[in-house]
């Protein structure tokens, strides 16, 4: 693993555009604008992922335009973007799943990488425990699987078939399968996208809890701005193949969505995504529309 990631992006990389609509009075907290900078709270940690001038194209369409990116070890990053912005392409490139995609650039990833998908992707013909320990080598795989299942609250369901689990339970089993490998990097491709709202809230808490305990670097691809601000310590916005925003979220966890600072981050990111949100006021008054005025 190279340790000189900081120097990679500073000279020639296009600096990401800062969010124009960032709330006032928080400038001190806006760290991580340079992709090579260490994450808040993880000083001088060697990067877990380093991408240099990463290009991916499908035919004539360039989906990733010379992306420069460094994720620090143990850093929780969310990757936002409209559909078609290239966020899944970036994730699949980091996961090494882009077999037939043309591209160039430099990419360093750790040895142990786990990926969790939007669907739980449990093999229907394997029982839950066998799904979790699938591909696990070495002695103690069975015990590690049991521990991982207990950690996600599925103790006692080891012998169940996947179809006997609810959608949320399936996704938790998938999370256990990702974590049992003790990953240095956890990639998640909209893992909660298919869940209902109540289950999603529980899964957010669980993911954050597991992250605090195991501390892998996390790259969470999502299109849900609230989810990104609630979970991540750093949010990237990908726009037409380029990282347009790199925003550090400096809020204590667990985060309260009604916190005004939460709202400020949220609005800034929404604006960066081209969505101008109305103020969350109980009585919206058109003449007093601070966010709209600022944007």
């Amino acid at each position: 693993m190279a340790t000189h990631a900081g120097g990679l992006t500073k000279d020639h990389a296009p600096r990401p555009v800062e969010a124009e609509t960032a709330p006032e009075g928080r400038d001190g907290s806006r760290q991580g604008l340079d992709p090579g900078a260490p994450a808040p709270g993880v000083p001088d940690a060697p990067p877990a992922v380093r991408a240099g001038r990463l290009v991916r194209r499908f035919g004539d369409r360039v989906v990733l335009k010379e992306i420069d990116l460094a994720l620090a070890a143990g850093e929780f990053t969310a990757l936002l973007g409209r559909s078609g912005s290239g966020k899944s392409t970036l994730l699949r490139a980091v996961a090494g799943l882009d077999h037939d995609v043309e591209g160039s650039g430099e990419l360093l990833v750790p040895e142990r990488v786990s990926l969790s998908f939007q669907d739980s992707r449990l093999l229907p013909w394997l029982r839950v425990l066998d799904n979790v320990t699938l591909g696990l080598r070495g002695p103690g795989a069975h015990e590690r699987g049991l521990t991982a299942l207990a950690e996600v609250g599925l103790a006692g369901r080891e012998r169940s078939w996947p179809h006997e689990l609810s959608g949320g339970e399936q996704q938790r089993a998938a999370l256990a399968r990702a974590l049992v490998r003790d990953p240095e990097l956890l990639l998640a491709d909209e893992p909660f996208g298919a869940l209902d709202a109540l289950t999603r809230i529980k899964m957010h808490d669980l993911l954050r809890e597991l992250y605090e305990r195991h501390r892998p670097a996390v790259l969470l691809v999502t299109h849900d701005v609230d989810e990104a601000v609630e979970l991540a310590d750093r949010v990237l916005v990908l726009d037409e193949g380029e990282i347009s925003v790199d925003l550090a979220i400096d809020l204590p966890t667990p985060r309260n969505r009604r916190d005004p600072r939460f709202q400020q981050y949220r609005d800034a990111l929404l604006a960066a995504l081209g969505v101008h949100s109305a103020p969350p006021a109980p009585e919206p008054r058109p003449e007093d529309h601070p966010h709209a005025a600022r944007v």
Binding site: L97, F117, R121, L123, P124, W125, L126, G135, W161, R177
Partner: protein, 309 residues
């Protein structure tokens, strides 16, 4: 007002306020009284107890499936007892049963059945093994696909029985030829179905295997083989049927033993009872082997039992 209350009771579940009723109801209140007393049985009532007309076939009766075969046997019995059937054309059920008992007593039936079972079983085994092997080779590598799939799709268009003359020319008329004919038919059927199921394995499962860094062998064992099992069993069931069919044909070619041989001997002497015993033996083994495969299939695919019922 009492009209409205009646309707509340019969139409709307508790807790749901009734919509105000139109006063333009022409029926006199007296005519509605009985309906109010027994709302559930009122003929025009739309209460929750009214069932929709059933369009499906309804519930099944235990052993109901045996009714049709039993009726055929009964008709056969009646026709032969009434003297409508010439025993040289078709013996009665009684004669068939006593012939079967005789054949068992002198050991001819068991001996011939055993020889036939051996041929069918060996052919099936070789056919299934080579069919699966070819399907895995063709399904997992492009080279294998290009080399194997084409010839087998062409072979599929030529019935194995059409190759009989050539196989006799090559292998003679012995057991080798008989087993090869059966195995060829089975292999193609098993290959076609297993290969189709194997190439239909969800690419997301393949992607998962890549993410989990499964080795070739683990990928084969945990993803490919279980994933192609449903198609394999379809092929196996058809293959079992095909092995019986092949058996019947090859036992007509200079055989000196087997159920088919026994039947053709009987044809020479116009013993329709022996022929029927042979047919019943074929039918019994065909049915039993299919039931066996289905039982194995249910066990092996128990992970999707709730789906298949």
């Amino acid at each position: 007002m009492s009209d409205a209350l009646t309707d509340v009771r019969t139409r709307v579940p508790a807790g749901v306020p009734a919509p105000p009723r139109e006063p333009a109801d022409t029926k006199p209140p007296a005519a509605r009284k009985p309906a109010a007393a027994t709302p559930a049985t009122a003929p025009v009532s739309r209460s929750g107890l009214r069932r929709r007309r059933r369009l499906g076939p309804g519930r099944s009766v235990p052993l109901g499936r045996l009714l049709g075969p039993a009726l055929v046997v009964a008709l056969w019995w009646a026709a032969s007892a009434a003297g409508y059937l010439d025993p040289r054309i078709l013996s009665g059920p009684g004669a068939v049963v006593s012939t079967a008992v005789e054949l068992i007593a002198d050991g001819r039936l068991q001996g011939n059945v055993l020889v036939s079972l051996q041929r069918a079983g060996l052919g099936l085994l070789l056919g299934v093994a080579s069919g699966v092997l070819l399907a895995v080779v063709a399904g997992l590598s492009r080279t294998g696909e290009y080399l194997v799939d084409g010839p087998l799709q062409i072979k599929r268009a030529i019935p194995s029985l059409a190759m009989l003359p050539l196989l006799i020319l090559w292998l003679g008329i012995g057991e080798q030829m008989k087993i090869t004919v059966i195995a060829l038919g089975v292999a193609v059927i098993v290959y076609i179905n297993t290969y189709a199921s194997l190439t239909g394995i969800d690419s997301r499962h393949v992607e998962l295997a890549e993410v989990l860094e499964l080795g070739r062998w683990q990928f084969l064992r945990k993803v490919v083989l279980p994933g192609s099992l449903p198609g394999f069993f379809v092929g196996l069931r058809l293959g079992v049927t095909s092995s019986w069919l092949g058996l019947i044909v090859v036992e007509q070619v200079n055989a000196t033993s087997g159920i088919g041989y026994m039947m053709f001997q009987a044809q020479q002497y116009a013993q329709s009872d022996v022929i029927i015993v042979g047919l019943v033996a074929y039918g019994t083994f065909g049915f039993a082997s299919d039931a066996l495969v289905r039982a194995v299939e249910r066990r092996a695919l128990s992970w999707r039992r709730t789906l298949a019922g």
